[in-house]
């Protein structure tokens, strides 16, 4: 259920995202999701890739600091209220979302929500109890 997301630190300067992207391309690693959380000075790139171990090793070998974090991918219908339903399942659970982002999953007409929870296992239990589909890593990479 839990998926390894890679995060890396990037200064807010031209070319600083292109370099890691190029390294992953050279290794034939596919970037499935990509999100940039930015501040005035720097950004944190968060991505889910086809082979996170190889990606982390490649980036680290080039002196780039990478961190792997467990996130959850939740599938929702791509319609008004889709996200609200998922978040509603967490109401009253006391489970806090550290951060989240979303992207459409074109093939299935659904959307994917990526969540970072402090306690992913508790979150999985709550979501599944509400009948929400928490994706396994390989489903996202299909």
């Amino acid at each position: 259920m839990k998926i390894q997301q890679l995060s890396l630190f990037a200064e807010n300067k031209p070319g600083h995202i292109a370099a890691p992207a190029r390294l992953l391309a050279q290794e034939g690693i596919d970037i499935r999701s990509f999100y940039l959380a930015d501040t005035q000075q720097y950004g944190i790139v968060r991505m889910i890739v086809s082979d996170w171990k190889k990606a982390a090793a490649t980036l680290e070998a080039h002196g780039i600091v990478v961190k792997a974090t467990e996130v959850l991918a939740v599938e929702v219908p791509d319609r008004p209220g889709g996200m609200a339903d998922v978040l509603g399942a967490l109401d009253g659970s006391g489970i806090n979302i550290e951060y989240m982002y979303a992207f459409p999953f074109l093939r299935s007409g659904k959307a994917i929500l990526i969540f970072r929870f402090a306690d992913p296992d508790a979150a999985i239990a709550h979501l599944q109890k509400a009948g929400i589909n928490v994706l396994a890593g390989d489903e996202l990479l299909k």
Binding site: F9, A10, Y42, G63, K67
Partner: protein
């Protein structure tokens, strides 16, 4: 007299016997050598003789060690102004080695050695290593840069003369350094403290636990470092960390070194006579007072240095070390008089920035100070590399880290500086030494 000699003189390396020279004998030796070196410099070095003339002095005026205070100072600028060979006291045919120091401004400086000078240098490095408890049978990895820089060859000759096995890795290629350290069962390493911190971090990434290796001592120098950095190094690697002091102008590494007491650095004053002076007035200060270290080479032939102004700020520690050595000790060098930055009228030393960063786990050693001027006002920025230890995928955590660094710096410096987080391995480094201050102020 001290009867608590912990190491019996009979047990120590033959070269170390000199460390215990009885004081009356030491003072007599210093006077004889001082008189000889002043006579040599007066005879062969034009600049020195003309400065003596200006003061109406001749070598015979030096009748006691204390009268050294009458002699003119030698400044770093003198070495630059007489580049390359102007301060030599020996003909080139007697010079067996030239080293060049990486000058940060303008021309480099050149230092020369006769065969006797190289032998003296080797002997003081032996005394340093022996004082750190190293001996024949130790495997010493020498990660100081080999070449024009004095660190590499100085430590190399000393370690060989000690009878140890030397692994001359020179600087760079951390992965290979760690591999050889592990495969060869290296027991001691010489490098800059900054470089060793880098090796600690890299070893952890490679899954090598330095604490599990036979490595037991580190002889660190060529840049100022702090007591808290020593604790950090010792905690992370389970070694005993020693501070070694030296400068090319005097001989290179080996002017002084800590013993296992770690209560200051013994200066080998049978060869390098130390004084502390007021950095402003040049007036001599008594032992115990903080000021600028001034050194006189008592034995050097190729390039004698009379009262050389080191710019290093320290004090001579009063009293004798409990190890029994008679060689006086200096406090570890925390700052240099020419390190001082004046930011909006406030004096700031890079070592203060370091001590602030030490409070925030993971931020050392990879930081840099950048000075700029904005509408006539000095701005100071402290850039800190984001290491794997510090990095977090949550913006809030990074902002919290930045705020903690900011708070520590504000508290220590008393002025507001800008804190920037930058990518790992993005700050300039040279010869394993991080370049600490980038001054982009234009007047």
């Amino acid at each position: 007299m001290i009867s608590l000699l912990e190491t019996s003189i009979a047990d120590c390396h033959p070269a170390s016997v000199l460390d215990y020279t009885p004081l009356p004998e030491l003072r007599a030796l210093q006077l004889l050598r001082l008189q000889a070196v002043v006579a040599r410099a007066w005879e062969h070095v034009d600049l020195f003789r003309s400065r003596m003339d200006e003061r109406g002095l001749v070598p015979e005026d030096i009748r006691s060690v204390e009268e050294i205070a009458k002699l003119p100072f030698t400044l770093k600028s003198d070495l630059r102004d007489t580049y390359p060979f102007g301060l030599f006291a020996s003909p080139m045919k007697d010079v067996v080695r030239l080293h060049v120091s990486s000058g940060t401004t303008g021309k480099p400086i050149v230092v020369a050695y006769t065969k006797e000078d190289v032998d003296v240098w080797t002997s003081v490095m032996v005394r340093c290593f022996a004082g750190c408890g190293l001996h024949r049978g130790d495997i010493i990895q020498n990660a100081y840069g080999y070449g024009l820089f004095t660190g590499g060859l100085g430590a190399h000759y000393g370690a060989e003369a000690l009878g140890a096995t030397v692994v001359p890795t020179s600087g760079g290629n951390a992965d290979r350094q760690i591999m050889l350290m592990k495969d060869f069962g290296v027991t001691a390493i010489c490098c800059t403290p900054t470089y060793f911190l880098h090796l600690i971090a890299r070893a952890a990434e490679l899954g090598v636990d330095l604490k599990e290796l036979p490595l037991r001592a580190g002889v660190f120098g060529a840049e100022p470092w702090t007591e808290s950095m020593r604790k950090h190094i010792e905690r992370m690697s389970s070694i005993e960390a020693f501070d070694i002091y030296g400068l090319s102008e005097i001989i290179g590494p080996g002017v002084g070194c800590e013993c296992r007491r770690h209560q200051g650095l013994h200066i080998f004053e049978d060869l390098f006579y130390p004084e502390i002076v007021d950095p402003e007035s040049g007036e001599p200060l008594p032992d115990g007072s903080e000021g600028e270290l001034v050194l006189t080479t008592l034995s050097k032939h190729a390039m004698p240095m009379i009262r050389y102004r080191t710019r290093d700020i320290t004090r001579i520690l009063p009293g004798q070390c409990r190890c029994g050595r008679t060689m006086r000790r200096i406090d570890r060098i925390g700052r240099r008089s020419d390190d001082m930055l004046i930011i909006r009228g406030v004096n700031v030393f890079p070592s203060q920035v370091e001590s602030a960063l030490l409070q925030i786990e993971g931020t050392l050693p990879n930081y840099q100070i950048v000075l700029t001027r904005d509408q006539g006002l000095d701005q100071m920025e402290v850039q800190v590399e984001v290491t794997p230890h510090m990095f977090n995928d949550k913006i809030g955590a990074l902002q919290g880290l930045q705020a903690r660094i900011q708070g520590a710096l504000d508290h220590v410096l008393g002025i507001r500086v800008r804190v920037s987080l930058v990518e790992a391995n993005s700050l300039a480094r040279s010869e394993g030494k991080a370049k600490r201050v980038i001054d982009r102020r234009t007047s």
